[in-house]
């Protein structure tokens, strides 16, 4: 039973990340491989405040993490998007590698390669959520709120503006809309989703280390959105649930443990290529 709870909880956290990636890559059409870096920043900030000498309670820490991730994403996207899309490819690779370097080498703040153990469980209004069931409820609530927000934003004029930018940027600019501002706002929103997901992840696992937030993790997030389907809410939900089940299926095959991680990553890469070749809309998405 605990296995199912933790699978569902983890998948729900990845739904939030899927929404974040989908917003950037699917809706606005900005290629990004730095989603895991932002996710990591959120996780480390929440862990920092909960592990402090005078621990903060969970919700304010989560709020601070979300704000920091928003700021980070705005700071990162603004200079690159001002110039061109391909500059952002370089920026996102750079941010991802830089974040991994910071997570691994800034031992005082992040525990370095050993990570941060013993992160306390989250608390709501002075009530600590210690059982897996309660944590699952919390993450379900978080994912549901995220999905609701995504759905409402996509129905709002702002959502239509983002979709229009993907179709034809110059037409949107000619209609007097500020394209750069819309793109940066979308990136900010994506940052908030990733930051919240990071906070939930840190408290759920109670241990974080750099390997959860590296380039491979970013590629996994991209694969989730591509497989589930870009640009739709359903896609961001299907993708994480499917791809988190995949490693379990792989354990049924008789693969030596030394190459299991490479095999998993290889499969994600293969999925990216095959879906781009034969079904760019994913399982339940729209044309990418």
């Amino acid at each position: 039973m605990d296995f199912w709870f933790s699978y569902i909880t983890l998948a729900e956290i990845y739904v939030l990340l899927g929404l974040s990636t989908n917003l950037l890559v699917g809706i606005v059409g900005i290629f990004s491989v730095s989603q895991a870096a932002v996710f990591g920043v959120g996780a480390y900030i929440v862990a920092h405040f909960l592990l402090a000498a005078e621990p903060m309670s969970f919700l304010p820490a989560l709020g601070i993490a979300a704000v920091c991730c928003v700021l980070l994403n705005v700071l990162v996207t603004l200079p690159a998007l001002r110039v061109s899309g391909d500059y952002f490819v370089v920026t996102s690779f750079g941010i991802q590698l830089l974040a991994t370097a910071v997570f691994t080498n800034w031992t005082a703040g992040t525990g370095g390669a050993n990570g941060l153990p013993g992160i306390p469980p989250p608390d709501l209004f002075n009530h600590p959520l210690e059982s897996t069931g309660e944590l699952t409820l919390l993450c379900t609530a978080g994912a549901a709120l995220g999905c609701l927000a995504f759905y409402l934003i996509m129905r709002a004029p702002f959502g239509r503006l983002l979709r229009a930018i993907r179709e034809d940027e110059s037409a949107v600019a000619a209609a007097g809309k500020n394209v750069l501002r819309a793109k940066v706002s979308a990136a900010a929103l994506a940052g908030a989703f990733a930051g919240v997901a990071g906070g939930l992840y840190a408290t759920f696992l109670s241990f974080i280390d750099p390997s959860s937030f590296d380039l491979d993790a970013s590629i996994l997030l991209l694969t989730m959105v591509v497989v589930g389907g870009a640009r739709t809410l359903a896609g961001s939900i299907i993708g994480p649930f499917l791809l988190l089940a995949l490693p379990q299926v792989l354990t049924l095959l008789d693969i030596p443990t030394t190459i299991a991680a490479s095999m998993r990553q290889l499969l994600y890469g293969l999925l990216l290529i095959l879906f781009m070749m034969f079904r760019p809309q994913g399982l339940a998405g729209e044309k990418l």
Partner: protein, 287 residues
């Protein structure tokens, strides 16, 4: 005299990086594809050469074989993946994601076959040290890298400006539509360009690990630094890409005087942000 040693080391990494940068620049300026999988080609070259050397093949033969295999690999990616996607009217983003997928596949096949650990070439002469000017120490591998990289740079410059094929490539790069009308067939030129660039990138792909060792995921940082050099040098300018590669490598090496090496990605990225903010078209912008 530490700084002199660092300057010379910077020249060596810069030259190797410069070759990566001009090969990437050839592809990017011509096909407009941000060919992330180029990092995979770079890594593949090194591992193939390592495999052959451990089988007892002479180093030069292994190097040539790696170059040939990378040429084929690059041509395959362009003709079987990018060209197909383009025929189906795929967007820029779709091609980019496919390229990232190809990189992940290549790196992880290498990691599964050769283990993710660092591998060293079993070539004793490569680490023999030459002392220059009394205090600067260089290994044979480093000297070879500098010589081959400079030769590759001049060869590419000559090729692009004085051969018919080079002129064709530049014609397609500057205006694919016009090239199509004059029956230059951009798609077949693209395959040739990616093949040539993959052959060139195999050189640093083999020579740099001779000194530093091989890692399956080791291609991304050089490629990222090279793309930053290309952008800072001005897209389309091979000289700009090469010169800026050396400049960035020098700055990275000199920064070792004040901070530890694991932060050098920070220096590189800082340079990129400065260029984005103040001179996004690069120093040697062609147009």
């Amino acid at each position: 005299m530490l700084w002199l040693q660092l300057l010379v080391n910077g020249l060596e990494t810069g030259c190797a990086l410069g070759v990566v940068a001009i090969s990437f620049s050839l592809i990017y300026a011509t096909t407009k594809i941000f060919h992330v999988a180029h990092a995979g080609i770079y890594t593949m070259g090194g591992y193939l050469a390592w495999w052959l050397v451990t089988l007892g093949v002479p180093f030069l033969v292994a190097l040539l074989f790696a170059v040939a295999a990378c040429t084929a690999g690059g041509a395959l990616i362009q003709s079987q993946l990018y060209a197909r996607l383009e025929r189906r009217g795929a967007t820029h983003l779709v091609i980019l994601i496919a390229s990232l997928g190809t990189l992940a596949v290549m790196q992880n096949i290498i990691a599964a076959v050769f283990t993710p650990n660092i591998l060293q070439f079993p070539i004793p002469w490569a680490s023999n040290v030459v002392v220059l000017g009394g205090s600067v120490r260089l290994t044979w591998a480093q000297l070879l890298t500098i010589a081959v990289s400079l030769a590759a740079y001049f060869a590419v410059m000559w090729f692009a400006h004085y051969t018919i094929l080079g002129k064709r490539i530049r014609a397609v790069a500057s205006n694919p539509f016009l090239a199509q009308i004059t029956r230059l067939r951009p798609q077949s030129v693209y395959v040739i360009v990616v093949a040539i660039a993959s052959a060139i990138v195999a050189l640093p792909g083999v020579l740099v690990p001779l000194d530093l060792g091989l890692q399956p995921y080791g291609g991304i940082t050089p490629l990222l630094t090279a793309t930053i050099a290309m952008i800072a040098g001005g897209v389309g300018s091979l000289t700009g890409a090469f010169v800026l590669s050396i400049a960035i490598a020098e700055l990275q090496n000199l920064s070792l005087l004040v901070m530890p090496g694991e932060w050098s990605i920070g220096i590189t990225f800082f340079i990129f942000v400065i260029f984005m903010l103040f001179r996004p078209t690069g120093l040697f912008a062609a147009r």
